[in-house]
Symmetry: C2
Subunit: 339 residues, 2 copies
């Protein structure tokens, strides 16, 4: 990812929500990331111990989090993506009273319809409001083109539409002399198309250090690129053609595979034809009907989950394989934080 971003002159600001580990954050920064992205103020607080340039890719809308964001902006370069005047005013009050400056990006909806103002006009109005408020520094535009990887979508037209929407906003902003220093986009599956949207100056992919069955099935990486694997134990083979593993929704997370929702709940590396048909909390039911043999009770298997982000969020510790062939524990430092 670092090589791709560097080749195309795009800044890489990985989203740390995937791994939540300071050790991986450090590796990303050592490999050329300009800073990190966080989903929560509390996660940004944790990341600030290793990174001085943080983007909070989430609106701050209450006193508690605005105060904490302002305190953080006293220690690091903090930018926040918002989509409401409410957010802008709240952040401004907290920043001004703390005597700091918070960078602000305007969140523009480019098609996913989750957050983000609905038009270039609305974006420019919010940008002007931010530009006038004390304690805030308008940093640019933020978007989340997460929909363009949807297998049911036509990527060409969707990409073109994202570019068009961004350009409209940029043109309006430039006419008013507003800053568009940063135009932030990304997500792992869409990341490698970022150069096709020339307006984007930085990307925020999250999943790429680990990858998962979403990125494999979407065609963005191979099984071998999946670095995070769940070692499970076969606990039952009492039901014909099935084994049960000790990994259910409390281990793998319940997410289906986005590009292929009927593909089951992960990939069993040792038995590619096996299918994890059903998860309960601590049980994974695996259908071995299509396999010539099935493993025995007590055997260990290796599973690649559908969606690595919520899976990692269920763990307190991972085991990292070092180049020397040893295993060392790695904390999921930013898991379970409040706010």
């Amino acid at each position: 990812m670092s090589a791709y971003a560097s080749t195309h002159g795009i800044s890489l600001r990985p989203h740390a929500k995937t791994h939540k580990s300071l050790e991986l954050a450090r590796l990303q920064l050592e490999h050329g990331a300009v800073g990190l992205t966080a989903a929560k103020v509390s996660e940004a607080e944790v990341l600030s111990s290793v990174c001085g340039d943080l983007l909070l890719a989430y609106p701050v809308v209450d006193e508690n989090r605005a105060g904490r964001a302002a305190a953080l902006a006293g220690r690091v370069d903090l930018k926040v993506a918002i989509d409401s005047v409410h957010s802008a005013q709240l952040l401004s009050r907290s920043a001004a009273s703390a005597g700091v400056t918070v960078g602000v990006l305007v969140d523009l909806d480019v098609g996913l319809h989750r957050t983000g103002v609905q038009s270039a006009d609305a974006a420019v109005k919010l940008a002007q409001a931010i530009d006038r408020l004390p304690g805030l520094s308008l940093s640019g535009i933020f978007c989340y083109p997460g929909h363009i990887w949807d297998a049911t979508d036509q990527q060409g037209p969707a990409l073109g539409k994202v570019a068009e929407q961004l350009q409209q906003a940029i043109d309006l902003w430039k006419r008013l002399g507003l800053s568009t220093e940063i135009v932030s986009g990304g997500s792992t599956p869409t990341a490698y198309q970022s150069h096709l949207v020339p307006q984007v100056t930085e990307i925020r992919p999250g999943t790429y250090p680990y990858n998962d069955m979403n990125t494999v099935t979407g065609g963005y990486c191979s099984i071998e690129d999946c670095a995070a694997r769940i070692v499970v134990t076969v606990v039952s083979d009492a039901v014909p053609d099935q084994v049960v593993i000790d990994a259910g929704s409390k281990t793998l997370a319940a997410d289906r595979c986005v590009p292929d929702p009927e593909s089951g709940h992960g990939y069993v590396m040792e038995y590619p034809a096996a299918r994890i048909t059903k998860l309960s909390e601590e049980h994974g039911q695996v259908d071995f009907g299509a396999c010539p043999t099935r493993p025995e009770v007590g055997d260990r298997l290796t599973v690649i989950p559908n969606h690595i982000c919520p899976c990692i969020n269920l763990q307190d510790t991972l085991w990292l394989s070092t180049r020397g062939g040893q295993w060392k524990p790695m904390a999921v430092d930013a898991r379970g934080k409040q706010g």
Copy 2:
């Protein structure tokens, strides 16, 4: 639940996987529970500080967990439900070498086809193997009739079939002089039908101290019976007819509502007509199209999740409302344990 069990002369052994909190475990024991159920050896270890009678409702199939189970059996009355000779032999070796006795229940599949031996004959064979092994004490039969609450199922016939399967096994066991002291069943939704399966001596409901939209929609409790509620904040109203709350799959868990999978991802108490249509990790998209008004950015809402067990498993701390009207933190003590 305690009153129901007591009325029908059934022992109550709550499954602590739902709450994982020692404080609630203590309350359950004070209100007449005969002991507790755990999903993992590590959870049983945590629970052993408040409870001397534990059932591990999960097969133990590796050395690490068998050794820990044996160590635990030195401190408390421990029973384990298993469905393989492999489990029995492993537990026997660990128990014998630790000089302790582990109680064992034979897991009989009564229709859910997850774990459990497939017939009364297979159950009796496993029971005989257990009965002959040192360090083990045959305690009875274990089943999980979790399927009889399925709205697509005919409860009457399913209940009758469970009773018939249990009776077949009990008859065979009695003929051989084997112990059927405990016949363990349950799950919150099926719990209140337990007296209709007279073979069952104890039940293991988990969800009932909190309840959730699964139990509400299934008709087993009312909204007012839902004790665990997620306080969320509206973070965006930029998209028409929608607000976004700061609770996604990393807060509510991604589980659909079993009795009504299309009902969305939880219930918004202040806006009964609102529908949580989509969860991403930290965003919940709520459709307010059917509501006369919608809340504003910064407003607080209260959500009852579909499935409280994986939701609680995502939290480190809950806030307990005391009778005095105060709030005090309550730890999710057994969350995130290994093994």
